[in-house]
Structures are given as structure tokens and as C-alpha cells.
Symmetry: C2
Subunit: 163 residues, 2 copies
């Protein structure tokens, strides 16, 4: 349990509202993603979900993730280095990320998401952009840097102030 997440009923409802079926594969992919304590790639989700859903295919995982992104249950974090795969986040709440430029791994920040950050940074910017044809729907803030080697995939990252 790293972040609040949707229960099955809410997820079913979200999918059905969008005209998508709440299939076992989609629910399994979501559950698996929500249960993982990092932000995995599609391949990692595939491997992790196979015990629960042994006949699932990688293509179905991609399609399930796409459906979950479409209904807003999952956030896709594009690769920064072109040589790497995208990562997925079963966001329950919005939050910021730290991205390791060496490994491509993404870590949650403890900092609380501030919906008014843009307004504080530049008052009137969103209105200004809207008048000029840019509809702003959100923002993404990432710290970039390097995580020390040997600390990836630690056993107990939960100490300290990580969210």
C-alpha cells in the first residue's frame, strides 16, 4: 500500500462509464500495478501479473494499461532516455517524481502535490495560455538526478519521509 487506489467497484464503474469492459485481465493488471511499490514497466507488470493471470499476454498488458490510462486510473510516465520503456503509476493521488537519469527508475517524492503551483509561479499563465489556444489540463514536475548505485530495489525504502 503505497498510495490510495481505486477499489474494484470504482474501477469497474470507471471502465464501464467509458464503454470499456471490466475484464479479469484489466482488473488484474490494475491490482498488480497498485500493489507494486515502484513504478514498473509494462514488461515488469507482465511478469508480475502472470501468477494471477497465467494466460495473459504482453500485448494484453499493453492494451489493459492503455485502457486504464484512458479512464484516468493509471498514469503513464514516458521514458526520458529514448532507450528505455515507459513506466506506469496507479495513481490514487497526484504526486511528484524523482527520475534517475542512470537507471530510468522513478521514485515518488514525499512532497504534497500543490494544484496552485502554476498559479503561484506565474499568476494568470493558464488563463493567458487558454486565450491563446492552449488548454491546460495539468502539470508534471519531476526532479532529475542520480540515485546512488546499490540502492535500487531496496528492501525497506519506507523509512524516512518518502510518500
Amino acid at each position: 500500500m503505497t498510495h490510495p487506489r481505486l477499489d474494484h467497484d470504482a474501477l469497474r464503474g470507471a471502465l464501464e462509464t467509458a464503454g470499456l469492459r471490466p475484464t479479469p485481465q484489466r482488473l488484474a493488471v490494475y491490482d498488480q500495478l497498485a500493489a507494486m511499490d515502484h513504478h514498473p514497466t509494462a514488461e515488469e507488470v507482465f511478469r508480475a501479473v502472470r501468477p494471477r493471470s497465467p494466460r495473459i499476454s504482453l500485448a494484453t498488458v499493453y492494451k489493459a494499461l492503455e485502457a486504464l490510462v484512458a479512464v484516468g486510473a493509471v498514469d503513464r510516465l514516458g521514458a526520458e532516455s529514448a532507450a528505455g520503456p515507459a513506466r506506469y503509476d496507479a495513481r490514487g493521488d497526484r504526486h511528484y517524481h524523482f527520475r534517475c537519469l542512470r537507471t530510468g527508475t522513478i521514485h515518488d517524492l514525499p512532497t504534497q502535490y500543490d494544484p496552485r503551483l502554476i498559479e503561484q509561479l506565474d499568476p494568470g499563465l493558464a488563463d493567458d495560455l487558454r486565450d491563446r489556444g492552449f488548454q491546460v489540463t495539468g502539470y508534471r514536475l519531476e526532479l532529475l538526478g542520480y540515485r546512488l548505485p546499490g540502492r535500487d530495489e531496496p528492501g525497506s525504502p519506507g523509512s524516512g519521509r518518502d510518500a
Copy 2:
């Protein structure tokens, strides 16, 4: 001229300091990128630079962009939708971006870059992260949304307050 950029001597120096040669192809790629009023893909740079450097190959454009990124003269903006190519920015100054989730195009924001934004958002965060093995080297802030159709590649985006 959209942003301050390095002149040839500075760029030569930056490349040579890094042990890289200031070849005509690399200089041409940089010049072309700096002259473009948007943030093009490698393919767009390739097509645009061909008149100046007719025998250049797409692979060389990729390699040149990689070298320019390595010396800090160019910023690579990873694709958000996995189905799209990365984009490149001949950054002279740091700045923020708006990313269109429909077309993948990236636009500069007029807002001035604030190096203390992270410290203001969460005082002590960077120090805290450093103590826990995360070395923060910078941050990236992007507004996400949709640009109205028919306004891409406009003839005169320079009016208004765009940077």
C-alpha cells in the same frame, strides 16, 4: 531567434573540452536546431539540415544530437506518448514547456525559470533526498494539455507573451 544560444566558438570549446570534435555536421545540426522556432524531432532536424549539409545521414543527426546533449548545449525532451519521437531544444536558458497531449508538440512558456522553485515548494527536500542517496541535478516542469487544432505551426506565434 527564440532563445539565447551558443556561438560557434563557445560550442567548439564545449565540444573540445569534452574530447569531442567540432565537426561541420555537429555545428550544422546545432545551428539548425537553434534556428528553428519549435522543438523538432531528430527527423525534422535531419530534413531541415540537409540543404546545409547534403550528405548528412539520419544516424549522424542522432549522434550529433547525442554529442550536443552530452556537452549540455541541447536538451532532449523525451516522448510522452510512447508512439512518438523525442524532441530537442537548443536551450540557451532554462525554461518551462507546454506539451500538447494530442500532437506531441512542445511549446515554450513565457514564465521565467526559477531555480529555487523546489526549495520553495518543499524546503529541505533536496538535502533530504541527498541524505537518502538521491542526488538532485535539476528539475523539469511541464504543463500538459491540448492546443486547439489548426494552430500548430502558425506563421506568427511571436505576438503575445511567449518567450
